[in-house]
């Protein structure tokens, strides 16, 4: 079974971003970019499926600027076999990403697509579900465990009240939650080897997909800040403040 893993290049999770002074967006100049952390988990899951014999080939795909090659090389160093970069500048919304991925799926015929549950920049949490709908496939979102059994898979999902197990038909779309696995670090020899693995470049036009945004961003602003608080010296002082100043207990 072939596994497709879409990976997104995002602002590194350790960066505290700044809103541009003119309110037109977020300042991404000279900011450290990395693979979306959930996508590292997705790649790791695919590599483990290959190691266990359930998967035969792993194809990583990214939609983004030319620099998105870096996250594809990371995926290759972690164990993906080859990569596809669909180059697109500027905003590509989840619906357009899902359409591009659906086109790749039709060419590649994977048995499973593993995505991250959300990208930590736009926090949309949409792409996997949309892809599944466009393909008419089943979906196992927010997965903390994936067990492949022949033509079906048992997926354990993180839900509001705890966990939910579902049984889905393959081919399927799965989205990775935090506790699916702990991604490995790529070793230096594997990073070197990854440089020689194939990386195809495509454009949205190759797939005939219109990626024009459907949402108009009218502005971006800083969230309301919190006024600085005070340090209290003891538990009794804390309780006094909570009772008499804040009146919350």
């Amino acid at each position: 079974m072939k596994v497709l893993v879409p990976v997104k290049r995002v602002v590194d999770h350790n960066v505290k971003i700044r809103v541009k002074a003119d309110g037109s967006g977020v300042d991404l100049a000279n900011v450290k970019m990395s693979m979306n952390p959930f996508d590292e988990i997705a790649v790791e899951e695919a590599v483990r499926l290959k190691e266990s014999g359930a998967a035969s080939e792993i194809v990583a795909v990214s939609v983004g600027p030319a620099q998105a090659q870096d996250v594809l090389r990371t995926a290759l160093a972690m164990g993906a076999d080859r990569a596809i970069l669909i180059t697109a500048e500027g905003t590509v919304e989840p619906l357009a990403v899902a359409k591009l991925l659906a086109a790749v799926v039709r060419e590649e015929n994977p048995g499973l697509v593993v995505l991250g549950k959300q990208a930590i920049d736009d926090d949309c949490n949409q792409t996997g579900q949309m892809l599944s709908a466009l393909l008419g496939w089943s979906q196992g979102t927010f997965a903390s465990k994936v067990e492949i059994a022949g033509e079906r898979a048992k997926i354990t999902r993180e839900v509001d009240g705890g966990l939910q197990a579902i049984d889905i038909s393959l081919p399927a779309v799965v989205t990775a939650d935090l506790r699916l696995n702990e991604p490995r670090y790529a070793s230096l020899p594997n990073i070197m080897k990854a440089k020689k693995k194939p990386l195809d470049q495509k454009t949205p036009a190759d797939f005939g997909v219109d990626i024009a945004p459907r949402l108009k961003v009218l502005g971006v602003e800083e969230p309301a800040g919190r006024a600085a608080g005070v340090k209290v010296g003891s538990v009794s002082e804390l309780l006094d403040k909570l009772r008499n100043e804040a009146a919350v207990i």
Partner: protein, 310 residues
């Protein structure tokens, strides 16, 4: 202009997040119908019918809808959307699972986790873990919107008197089957609606200490218990207690962070709380930058004292 609100429930009770999403829907303007998809969910439909400003309740019953799995739920909603131009759901795990699937079926870009309704098609939503707030306008013919429930008050039941209409559920085949729910049993309030939350981090050190240190204080305050990702990853607390960018977003009256450093991903889930208390041994911990009241100290000494004085 009509709005369909996809209700979140467990076939017995209508959830608090649904009441909050109704408040957001009412701000968009237009007639509101509530869809109750489930099995044996008459009580939920009845509860939806007495909500204020609801035109009709649409009830769909089938085995496949019992757990509102994405494939049958999305197929049902798609079949109903001819009569609506907006679809709304609370951003619960069910809403987040189902709505993007509907959006793609309708060829519409979803607007995720809105925190403010600016106009019928214009919304504010946080991006980058809440470090920026984006105002977006939808240009599609229909709108699909999930609502961050911590940002809206719950609608008060009682004022409404809507009719309940039944519809046939569409057959979505055998793509997915429900196996089981492994839900965390708790007598405590839900994180999303609790007035007070006592939250613990990596410093708690073990499952037993997480329980034995936080529970007595939470019990005295009638509080919900939350956790950082580090505490959940380490197995001190179940996944459904995680507060943060990729867990639950909460805004209680009082949030007490115990042994939590205050990483941006954690702050994203609790910084809209009315009052924040931080208890941490490290006076430089970033959590103190958002805390109204900070207490530098060892939580294993502070929390028992707190419990004793409550």
């Amino acid at each position: 202009m009509a709005i369909l609100l996809f209700a979140d429930h467990d076939n017995a009770t209508l959830s608090d997040p649904t009441l909050r999403a109704l408040t957001a829907a009412a701000k968009m303007g237009g007639e509101i119908d509530i869809l109750v998809a489930g099995k044996g969910a008459d009580a939920v439909a009845a509860a939806a019918a007495i909500l204020p400003g609801v035109r009709a309740v649409i009830q769909a019953e089938s085995d496949a809808l019992e757990h509102r799995l994405a494939e049958p739920a999305a197929a049902l909603i798609q079949s109903l959307m001819g009569g609506y131009d907006t679809l709304v759901a609370p951003a619960t795990t069910t809403g987040k699972n189902v709505l993007p699937r509907v959006a793609a079926l309708l060829d519409v870009m979803q607007i995720s986790e809105i925190t403010e309704v600016v106009g019928p098609a214009t919304f504010k939503r946080p991006i980058y873990a809440g470090n920026a707030i984006e105002t977006v306008e939808a240009t599609d013919a229909k709108r699909v919107v999930t609502v961050r429930t911590a940002s809206f008050d719950a609608a008060q039941p009682g004022a409404g008197n809507a009719l309940v209409n039944s519809v046939e559920a569409a057959d979505a085949g055998d793509l997915s089957r429900f196996v089981e729910n492994i839900l965390s049993a708790s007598d405590r309030p839900e994180l999303g609606s609790a007035k007070i939350i006592v939250s613990g981090g990596r410093a708690l050190g073990s499952d037993e200490k997480f329980q034995s240190t936080l529970s007595p204080v939470a019990d005295k305050l009638g509080a919900a218990v939350g956790a950082s990702r580090a505490a959940v990853d380490s197995g001190y607390a179940p996944n459904d207690l995680q507060v943060g960018q990729t867990g639950k977003v909460v805004a209680p009256e009082l949030y007490i962070a115990c042994g939590i450093s205050g990483a941006i991903q954690h702050l994203a889930g609790m910084k809209d709380s009315k009052v924040i208390v931080a208890i941490n041994t490290d006076e430089e911990a970033p959590i103190f930058q958002v805390a109204d009241y900070g207490l530098v100290g060892d939580l294993f000494e502070v929390l028992p004292q707190l419990e004793a004085q409550l």
